[in-house]
């Protein structure tokens, strides 16, 4: 099998425990991105990630390759972070109303905000707004767009039903879109005010 994770895990299970470091190096940054999007705090995210790697190591012999290693591992990260959130008393994560209607009308977008959509400023706004997304939405959006997981893999990684994954993903993208448009509008208003103020 051409899967590097498969080869590494075989070596670990054969007794070469130190090979686990390769697995950590291969997945830590993507997993850290997920943990940080959920916990919003670098120290907590790193600690949760370490816990997740230790748990995955201890459960490695029970991993059955029904999914890829990283989908299985993201589920551990996701669960550890969910536990941290509930320990913090953050109920927004466990008590989300996923049945609420999602057929919101799109606010009119007759003209695209005048922005360089590949520019640094746009990326900076996107980064800021994704950091502000509630963990429940930031997590699915991160799995979908950054980890490039399919709907089914997100179901696997979160343990959520497919319908819930779709609803949350839909809301996450909608919220991000509205927040970014809001920030761009604010920015363009400020700059046009500045231009007005500069006129003699």
């Amino acid at each position: 099998m051409a899967n590097p994770d498969y080869e590494t895990i075989q070596r670990i299970l054969a007794g070469e425990k130190r090979a686990y470091a390769e697995l950590i190096d291969r997945h830590k940054d993507r997993a850290m991105t997920l943990a940080l999007r959920m916990l919003k705090n670098r120290e907590d995210a790193e600690e949760a990630l370490q816990d997740a790697f230790v748990r995955a190591f201890n459960a490695l012999s029970r991993f059955e390759w029904k999914s890829s290693f990283f989908t299985w591992f993201y589920r551990i990260v996701y669960n550890v972070c969910a536990t941290v959130l509930s320990r913090r008393g953050d109920e927004s994560f466990s008590s989300v109303d996923d049945d609420e209607g999602v057929t919101g009308e799109l606010p009119s977008l007759d003209k695209l905000p005048d922005t360089d959509y590949e520019g640094l400023e746009f990326r900076r706004i996107v980064q800021r707004e994704i950091d502000r997304l509630p963990p429940v939405y930031a997590s699915v959006l991160t799995l979908f767009l950054i980890q490039d997981l399919s709907y089914d893999e997100i179901v696997e990684a979160t343990g959520l039903p497919l319908g819930t994954v779709k609803v949350r993903l839909f809301r996450a993208r909608g919220m991000l879109r509205d927040a970014v448009i809001g920030a761009l509008d604010e920015g363009s208003q400020q700059s046009s005010q500045r231009k007005v103020a500069l006129k003699p």
Binding site: M32, T33, R42, E46, L49, Q50, T103, G104, D110, F122
Partner: protein
């Protein structure tokens, strides 16, 4: 047709529409700038999110995690005993050298005759003699308790070794490790 709904925009981008739906949407897009803008914006947003740099863990993350994993696997009794053997050997060595010096100061300290240091050494020597006498006495007692009538020089050596090990373990646990932790 009305403008595209949010769901339709996402489904179109993700390739989740069936052929008929996709044709209808594309026909609308051809004549509606507002919806074209929306699709373009959403595509840009997705691309921007996909291209955000990954978050990095601190540089020693892998090493620290591996230490935690490997340490957890080695909590067996033999490993813990081994961990202490090093400091026990070091302490025995110090005691032997100290004992040797103090029991023969006249040979080793020739020419170093000032009274302050010789009185210091003699008080150390007294202390050392007292300690070894106490060890020997307690070892004899231990020997008698366990070996009774069959006490021989061999069982006395075993008793002395046991006693010394207990004292060293105590020193290691309550003194040596605390000193090490203080990072002098």
């Amino acid at each position: 047709m009305n403008h595209l709904s949010r769901q339709q925009v996402f489904a179109l981008i993700d390739g989740q529409l069936d052929d008929a739906e996709e044709r209808t949407c594309n026909a609308h897009l051809a004549g509606c700038a507002r919806c074209r803008n929306e699709v373009a914006l959403q595509r840009s947003l997705d691309t921007a999110v996909e291209n955000l740099p990954l978050e990095r863990t601190s540089s020693w993350f892998t090493e620290r995690t591996m230490n935690r994993i490997l340490r957890a696997g080695k909590q067996s009794l033999s490993y813990r005993i081994l961990q202490h053997v090093g400091s026990a050997v070091a302490m025995v060595a110090v005691l032997v050298v100290l004992g040797y010096i103090l029991s023969s100061p006249s040979e080793l300290l020739v020419g170093n005759d000032d009274s302050a240091s010789s009185s210091l050494f003699s008080s150390w020597k007294t202390f050392y003699n007292n300690v070894s006498a106490a060890v020997s006495q307690n070892a004899t007692r231990l020997n008698n308790v366990f070996a009774g009538q069959t006490a021989t020089p061999v069982t006395k050596i075993i008793a002395t070794t046991l006693l010394v090990l207990v004292v060293l373990a105590g020193l290691d646990r309550y003194v040596f490790r605390k000193v090490v932790r203080m990072k002098i």
